[in-house]
């Protein structure tokens, strides 16, 4: 967390319910419109399905459900943020479903604060820090944790 606060970084922002969120742009591979996906029966609810990304099968996770928000209204199609991380020498790729994609922005680390202790639930560990921007707060998410299903 310290090094996130210490150095200026770029974040890919997106909207999730009423919140503005951001993830480290270095982890973002690409942004895709809503893709046809195959449901995975018996999987945790956050797993929306499997997407064929040019021959690679990746798991799509609904960040709304991951963060404990209510499901998206019918008829609104989410956007896929394809993220990739190195884990144990292996590349882990997943698609995160968000409501709307925003800009890539620079965040001044001095505007960031650790999330308030009063946040409850599963979200607590997903939020790395909160950036106080003029337009409002931006929740910076931990990509690795957001990709995990549990």
């Amino acid at each position: 967390m310290i090094d996130i606060v210490a150095q200026q970084r770029q974040y890919c922002t997106f909207r999730l319910a009423q919140y503005h969120c951001g993830i480290d742009v270095m982890a973002v591979r690409e942004i895709l419109r809503h893709q046809p996906m195959t449901r995975v029966p018996l999987a945790p609810p956050a797993v929306k399905g499997l997407i064929n990304l040019r021959g690679q099968i990746i798991t799509a996770l609904d960040l709304r459900l991951r963060l404990g928000f209510p499901p998206r209204e019918d008829g609104k199609q989410p956007v896929n943020i394809v993220v990739g991380l190195q884990d144990d020498g292996e590349e882990c790729v997943a698609a995160l479903l968000v409501d709307e994609i925003g800009d890539v922005i620079d965040i001044d680390p001095t505007t960031c604060e650790t999330p308030p202790d009063t946040i409850r639930g599963a979200v607590r560990e997903l939020i790395l820090s909160v950036s106080k921007r003029e337009k409002g707060l931006l929740l910076i998410l931990d990509t690795a944790k957001a990709m995990r299903i549990d």
């Binding site: 996906m37 995975v40 021959g55 099968i57 990746i58 798991t59 299903i149």
Partner: protein, 717 residues
């Protein structure tokens, strides 16, 4: 020589590659003689050649390389600075090595040429400072040596040596991955093109489309093959491991292999190398006993470790089976308690299968003595971790005194398998064809009668056998079925059969198995996913996982063995009745003339035996339960549910004579094969069968009757 051939070939290919690099490096060195890095690299290459040739016993090659290496060592350590003489001496060393390698490739032996002049020259370069006279002398010898070396031999090697090196090529595995993905994309594009071609009327386009189709399929196949390697690549090194280890600890162990050609993805080959070696070492060290103990136990002094590999259900199964001492569950339980892994009660309750799998727990070692080979309690847990990492499973079964089998199942990451595509609840699924036995279709109007219910479990009578049914849409919590007919996919998993009810059966085809995300791996019902022709993703069902989930397989192995009746085996009708100790007994119906209930008060005594008047003749009675040796001292239910005043009597006849067998309450008649599944436990019993899930003793009517009426079966006068 077979195995060695492979190794030598590997050595040759590798050496050629290195030597080609050497040429470049020498030239670089001539430009920059002080470059230590290049010298060190050359030194390493020559050193490797020396070491490996020594291992294969190529003495001449070793000597040449050794001489070159010595000079290089001096250069590397900065004793000398490379000059023209040394450079040409070293280059000719490389030529000589190449020539010998060429000879080995052609004839399998290194040939006659020993290059004494070259070695002498190199020696001279090492010992003497390059005196002005020296370069002249070596130059002469070199000139002499040149005639056979440079003019004739290298010419040959260039042709022959090139052949092996040209036949194989090292390629970055990531390149192959990218190729694989591109081919996948190409296949999808091809499929789309073919749809358009089908719609258009142009004949020329149709022909081209067909060709595109053909070429793409072939390309896909070939690219996939590039990543596959036979498991032999890993196994090849094991005989030596076993040999050395068994020598070291005074055991005699033979290693056998089955399914060497089983192909595995390259990355898997790498991943299983260490775990496999470890387990084989373990088998030698712990599994197989020392010869004296084996002989004492009536086994051949030489132990056997069998490695088996085969494809099954989209997975590769590798078994390591030894005929050693096996694992002692009691000892394992004690050990688990001692290590504080569980309490004594927990240990006692743990099923045997899980007890065996304890040895994969970290820090768990059963070796009474810690050897330097194994027994330190690291290893088996590492094995499991490594196998887990590639999405595989390890299982262990053991019979005390008979041996241990470790079964590793690993997914075929990139393997192509034939599969059946079905739909259920609006989703598509692929089922590996290895698990597929047959397809049954029942029209909707017949469904109500064809599918029967056994206490809530749907079953279908498939040629007289009850086939448990699993509804895929219910099992996977999918939507309701809209199918107009019932499609049953009859599947086999782990020696059990069950029917999977799906909405429709679409197609069969080859699919590329792709592993699921690590996080979804605990969904045992899926073996992976694949990309269908239209670019969408379909899940591949893991038939065993699905069956286990639905309780159709897994626990049933023993019951299955007992209940299985081989098709075509003669069946016989059996009369079942209750035995006094609440068990069941059966009499072949062919030996039964009639069933009667007789009033106990009508039984009369005639000499030592009981008789009853029956249809105008005197019927001797045999009280079966009194004739049979008791199993319990105090039968739980002496009358077997029969009212004491009425006796159930089975009338048995032979040659017009009759005898009445007084039995317990009559239960039923069934059709069953009379192949005994267990030998008789007592006199008067032919053996045991499992009928309708209950152990049933089959009465030996003849012997029972003889105990009371000894001459019943004798021919009448």
């Amino acid at each position: 020589m077979g195995d060695l051939d492979g190794l030598v070939k590997e050595f040759l290919v590798e050496s050629y590659e290195n030597l080609d690099r050497l040429d470049k490096e020498f030239l670089q060195l001539e430009q920059d003689p002080a470059n230590r890095e290049v010298i060190a690299s050359i030194f390493r290459t020559i050193h490797t050649v020396k070491g490996t040739s020594g291992f294969f016993g190529f003495e001449k090659l070793q000597n040449v390389a050794h001489a070159g290496e010595n000079l290089l060592a001096k250069l590397r350590d900065g004793v000398f600075v490379l000059d023209q003489d040394m450079s040409s001496g070293l280059l000719r060393t490389v030529d000589a090595i190449r020539a010998i390698l060429g000879e080995i490739e052609r004839t399998n032996v290194e040939g006659e040429q020993a290059y004494p002049e070259l070695i002498a020259e190199l020696e001279a370069l090492i010992h003497g400072a390059p005196a002005p006279a020296k370069p002249v002398a070596p130059a002469q010898t070199a000139a002499k040596a040149d005639s056979p070396e440079t003019s004739t031999v290298p010419a040959q090697t260039a042709a022959v040596g090139g052949s092996l090196a040209d036949q194989s090529l090292r390629v970055d595995i990531r390149l192959l991955d990218r190729l694989m993905n591109l081919v996948g994309e190409l296949v999808l594009t091809r499929n789309q093109i073919l749809q358009h071609v089908g719609a258009s009327a142009s004949g020329g386009l149709a022909t081209t489309g067909k060709r595109l189709d053909n070429i793409t399929s072939q390309l896909q196949e070939e690219v996939m093959k590039t990543r596959m390697q036979p498991i032999e690549t890993v196994w090849g090194k094991l005989p030596r491991v076993v040999r050395d280890l068994s020598k070291q600890i005074g055991k005699q162990v033979r290693l056998e292999m089955e399914g060497k050609d089983t192909e595995l993805d390259k990355s898997l080959i790498e991943a299983i190398k260490d775990p496999l070696t470890h387990m084989v070492r373990n088998s030698v060290d712990h599994g197989v006993e020392i010869p004296e103990r084996r002989t004492a136990a009536g086994k051949p002094a030489e132990g056997c470790i069998l490695l088996r590999a085969y494809h099954e259900g989209g997975k590769v199964t590798i078994e390591i089976r030894d005929d050693g001492a096996g694992l002692d569950p009691t000892r394992l339980r004690a050990k688990a308690v001692e290590k504080g892994l569980m309490t004594a009660e927990q240990a006692a309750k743990l099923p045997e299968r899980e007890v065996f799998n304890l040895i994969f727990a970290p820090g768990f070692s059963t070796a009474a003595q810690v050897t330097n080979i194994s027994g330190r309690g690291v290893g088996m847990d590492v094995v499991r971790t490594n196998i887990d990492r590639i999405g595989g499973t390890v299982d262990l079964s053991s019979v005390l005194g008979k041996g241990t089998t470790v079964t590793i199942k690993i997914p075929l990451t990139l393997a192509i398998i034939p599969a059946l595509v079905v739909t259920s609840g609006g989703e598509r699924f692929a089922i590996p064809q290895v698990n597929l036995l047959e397809l049954v279709r029942i029209e909707k109007d017949k469904a109500a009668t064809a599918i029967e219910d056994v206490y809530g479990a749907p079953v279908y009578r498939l040629r007289g056998q009850l086939l448990p049914l699993i509804y895929l849409n219910k099992e996977l919590a999918l939507g309701e079925s809209q199918a107009s007919a019932i499609n049953i996919v009859v599947l086999q998993a782990d020696e059990t059969q069950f029917g999977l009810v799906v909405d429709s059966v679409l197609d069969t085809g080859e699919i590329v198995v792709k592993p699921l995300d690590k996080q979804l791996k605990n969904l045992a019902v899926f073996a992976g996913a694949t990309i269908m022709g239209d670019g969408t993703v379909a899940l591949i069902l893991d038939v065993f996982g699905l069956g286990t989930r639905a309780h159709a397989v897994g626990k049933g192995r023993e019951a299955k063995v007992a209940a299985a009746v081989a098709p075509g085996e003669a069946k016989e009708a059996l009369l079942l009745f209750q035995s006094p100790d609440d068990g069941r007994m059966g009499i072949p119906l062919s030996q039964v003339v009639r069933l009667e209930e007789m009033d106990a008060s009508k039984v009369e005594a005639a000499g030592e035996s009981e008789v009853v008047q029956y249809r105008g003749e005197i019927l001797p009675l045999v009280r079966v339960f009194q004739v049979l040796p008791e199993r319990r001292r105090n039968p739980r239910n002496p009358e077997a549910g029969v009212q004491s005043n009425m006796l159930p009597v089975v009338v048995h006849g032979h040659n017009g004579r009759h005898v009445g067998l007084v039995v317990g309450r009559i239960i039923d008649t069934v059709e069953e094969s009379l192949k005994m599944q267990r030998a008789a436990g007592r006199a008067g019993i032919k053996g045991c069968l499992v009928i309708n899930g209950k152990v049933t003793e089959i009465l030996d009517v003849e012997s029972v009757v003889r105990t009371v009426v000894p001459d019943f079966y004798k021919a009448q006068p």
